[in-house]
């Protein structure tokens, strides 16, 4: 699912109470997984909370809510920020929106507008599997029904280099660009299999 769809989702306990809503998503230092969420209070005028939610405490993430066992699953927001910072202090903290996606061959594929995450119930991590980009002219020319600025999905390898400005993907990622989320999981698996990294089933 797109991370923009996660923002503002209610955080609901298994007892049925909405204790917070997602304010922002914190990615782990290498940008490869969701570390947790910062939270805001429920309601139009409530501000940010001092508590956050680590991914390890999430019971379920769906289109309509983030589920937790109870309120004790919430931790101080600094713990979430700590989990998001990479061990050596480098990395962009996962803020990739607006970054230019470059292949290792030096071709511009477009700019990141959204992050696609995937997690299977039972797996431990919420993996970042791709980015939604506004296609560059070069990429649009290669994809049918696409023009400059069309939103396309680019699969990611398990790990990749991210700076504040650029995001490097293997040139072969171009071949696995997909137009909609429905077939994207398969494209990610195929792409990762081709790279020789363990892919994830959908």
């Amino acid at each position: 699912m797109r991370t923009s769809e996660v923002t503002a989702l209610p955080v609901v306990t298994l007892a049925g109470d909405d204790v917070a809503q997602v304010k922002d998503i914190a990615f782990s230092g290498d940008g490869g997984a969701v570390a947790g969420f910062t939270l805001a209070g429920r309601g139009l005028f409530s501000g940010p909370l001092k508590t956050g939610l680590l991914w390890s405490k999430v019971v379920g993430l769906g289109p309509d809510a983030v589920m937790i066992t109870d309120e004790s699953a919430l931790d101080p927001v600094d713990d979430v920020r700590g989990a998001a910072a990479s061990a050596d202090g480098s990395g962009s903290g996962g803020n990739v929106l607006g970054d230019q996606v470059l292949t290792d061959g030096g071709t511009d594929l477009g700019r990141v507008v959204d992050v696609i995450v995937q997690f299977d119930n039972g797996s431990s991590a919420c993996d970042v599997v791709g980015y939604e980009i506004e296609a560059s002219e070069h990429l649009a020319a290669k994809v049918s029904n696409a023009s400059n600025g069309t939103r396309l999905l680019v699969p990611l390898p398990d790990t990749l280099a991210v700076s504040g400005e650029h995001l490097m993907v293997p040139a072969s990622a171009e071949g696995f660009v997909s137009g909609d989320l429905a077939g994207f999981g398969a494209a990610v698996s195929a792409f990762r299999a081709q790279l020789g990294t363990p892919g994830e089933g959908v």
């Binding site: 306990t13 049925g16 993430l61 809510a65 589920m67």
Partner: protein, 143 residues
Amino acid sequence: MQWSQLKGRKVVSTATADNVGKVSGFVLDPATRSVVALVLKKTESGSVVRWGDLLAVGTDAVTVADTTVIVEPDETLEALAGKRGAVLKKLVLDDAGQALGKVTDLDLDPDTGSLRELLLDGRTVTGDRLLGVGSYAVVVRTD
């Protein structure tokens, strides 16, 4: 037995054969997945009757021994009743964070009051999947 059929049914005392009230609501305990009390209106005194104090839930009337079992809710019932404990029209979420719809009706076991099914628009959820009822949603286990 569906809640919509039970609602509005008269409550009759077997001691005096008088109408002593009318069923207007219920109190569901998510922990036991059963209705623990009925909320009554048009009573002389008190507003709830515990399920265990009912003599019978018949097709035409609910019978009680006498009016002494119609009481004011204690703290436990008070906590389960109210808006937070209400089930009807509330959103149903599964534990994977997916909304299933809104509760339109309940199917109850007329003997024990246990919840057999939650009825949603176009689908049903068995009572044993119920995890909790809160201010925001009714939470059920993923199928």
